[in-house]
Symmetry: C2
Subunit: 455 residues, 2 copies
Amino acid sequence: MKKLFIALLCPLLMQAQVNTDADFIKNLSDEVLRNGQAHDLLRELTKGIGGRLAGSPQFAKAVEWGASALKNAGADKVILQECMMPNWKRGGTDMASIVMIDQKKTTRKLDVLALGNSMGTGGKAITAEVIAVASFDELEAKKDQLKGKIVYYNFKFNPTNIQTFKSYGEVGQYRRNGASRAAKYGAVGVMIRSLTEATDNNPHTGAMAYNDSFPKIPAIALGGDDADYVWNLSKKSSFRVSITTNGHFLPDAKGHNVIAELTGTEFPDEFITVGGHLDSWDVNEGAHDDGAGIVQTIEILRTLKALGYKPKRSIHFVLFANEENGLRGGSKYAEEAKAKNEKHVFALESDEGGFTPRGFGFTMSEKQFEKVQSWLPLLKPYGTEWMRKGGGGADIGPLNRLLGTPLGGYVPDDQRYFDIHHARSDVFENVNKRELMLGAINMGAFIYLVDKYFL
Amino acid sequence: MKKLFIALLCPLLMQAQVNTDADFIKNLSDEVLRNGQAHDLLRELTKGIGGRLAGSPQFAKAVEWGASALKNAGADKVILQECMMPNWKRGGTDMASIVMIDQKKTTRKLDVLALGNSMGTGGKAITAEVIAVASFDELEAKKDQLKGKIVYYNFKFNPTNIQTFKSYGEVGQYRRNGASRAAKYGAVGVMIRSLTEATDNNPHTGAMAYNDSFPKIPAIALGGDDADYVWNLSKKSSFRVSITTNGHFLPDAKGHNVIAELTGTEFPDEFITVGGHLDSWDVNEGAHDDGAGIVQTIEILRTLKALGYKPKRSIHFVLFANEENGLRGGSKYAEEAKAKNEKHVFALESDEGGFTPRGFGFTMSEKQFEKVQSWLPLLKPYGTEWMRKGGGGADIGPLNRLLGTPLGGYVPDDQRYFDIHHARSDVFENVNKRELMLGAINMGAFIYLVDKYFL
């Protein structure tokens, strides 16, 4: 009798353990922290494949790896969505050195990286006198002196911004537009201070773009120590810099978004997207940017499956192609969704590193924002401290623009991000296992809540 | 006329810029982020002096360095407060290796550190069969098998705790009491799994204590890989371990708390204390533990002086001696305050690493707690997300016990702390400059508010 009673009661008891959202999220957290594979997957992606710029053999390998990892994690199906990608090649080792006007020999070698998408010097050194400026305003003031010169931009992060992304936003225009702004006045090359406050001398690459009205001059980034050296020298002496780079484009290459699906049980034609970008710069392992977002995405799928969760809506776990220097993957994903008239109810992106959680940012209606805010107490125990307006991500942006999809962006702590962002130091060793997993927990819990309650 | 008008108005305008608490705290933050010396001071302390266990020549050097740094930062006076400290010496390189029962030769060397305060083997190897247990319960169950054996404790951090300090609290008893618990049943040595979830193999030392009723047997910590190896081996085979350590005590040594004061302008006999501990383990640079707390303390003093702040109450900036293996500095500070019948109105400690801010913990009355909570909106822009009950710090604890002083503890993010805590990897390179400075900002702002509004 006692046995029968227990047998009858047990299914109810079992259910009781997960019948609140708090219980489900606790189970999700425990599963990630006990059995999580994100850190091991990140080791595979970073140490096994490494840098994976769009068009590289490593990117193609990463697509295969990602499809396989998503299948292993329990996807109902995995689709490779083809897209054409720009195919920029660094083409060799970037070099620069200082040559004093009154001497023939190099006085200091600079540790530099060509900016992504920049055209090189064809492997031959160009040497020219340097005009150093702190800002575009100073560039304009000196526009008559720039012909035949190399412009050095010494803009700096504003150290007093508490949010480092704000500082990055303020100075990004120098990396993106600095070359053409100088070429307009006849400059033959540009150097920028890397977009970082790091206390080391690592140069940081990143995408730039040319204005087709002006010559496509070479563009390189300097690390912090070299940037200080060049700036201080410019206050005392005239000097030349010799630059050798090899950047060039090959014809566009075929690439793929990797899309895994857990098919919805009630509304299979409504899609929730969660993802990061699979490509990275060529000079590092793309560990925080954005290996972290990739393995968190796979981990969320694995964990929902491990918990036996059957989503109401179809969830897409997407490893986007070509965020860094073209955004072709994100664009393709939204274009195809629009072409098929798909209903995309929410998209979430992780592309700010695998750091400890702070919050989420949202681009959505006021009513939707009120709803997601009501979930904050469920996430607080796991490190989500706030939800704010504004946010999303580069790869899911097109979904919002083309289909009006509400967006969310996972916001980890940002104090260390720009130390390693686009630099050689963005490697596996700089990702903390628990911080990485906490991101997967908070994002996974959020996806569960969106699936269950809609927006 | 216009000039005169501006001249008359300007002092008012200037004052308007700092007449709110938010303005003052913004100025404090800007001063730290623009001109902060915490990172440079930490480099001096860690790279210039290094590990500085109580009783070591390095600790004495650190006292001199700290007094000088506090004077340079603008202290009204700096006092060296003498206290006697335990004088434990590691005495050489700690070694351990596995010797299979059926073989004579070593099959694996283990990377180990003797626990602090443990007595060594006198430089000679002791070799004995290993009994591995997961817990004290298992130890008790096997008590009849322990005579002449080496006990290995394989307790682990509970990975599902979001707060790593909770996990540390749960397993700390194995490090502190494991040796005597095993010696009671005749064991001749103990090995513990290091108190960490780190994915590397660094052993972590830390204080232990003997129960004088039982023999003082050697005690060592193993890194994660070696701990897994030993535990797995124990499930398959019998084996011996050979341990060589040299730990011993010399007679107590003279040491000092370094106390800098900004003397109060209204209530010079009321004291607010802020501090960290100057000593560290001998095997690392004590960068997070607690170089961070030390340089944040000095930075707060420097910044208040740089802003021209005149405190109402006297503020003590204290570099405590001997937190790690004796707590004699913290005890001395409180005992002397009590003997002099001083009024200590608040004390704040930073001893959880130089990581990005999360919050503060408080041990104080309900009414005081309500008051400090009302300040939260002022600190939120700088990363303080919450204030909670419970907290303080080891060195200020005696002030609360002897004088009833209300306490606060600065709580940075704790996900990375136990990766490096008491391990060789607690070095300068693992401290992020901005994270370190944000700690000084939030603590400095809090000290300003306590001074201005009392509790």
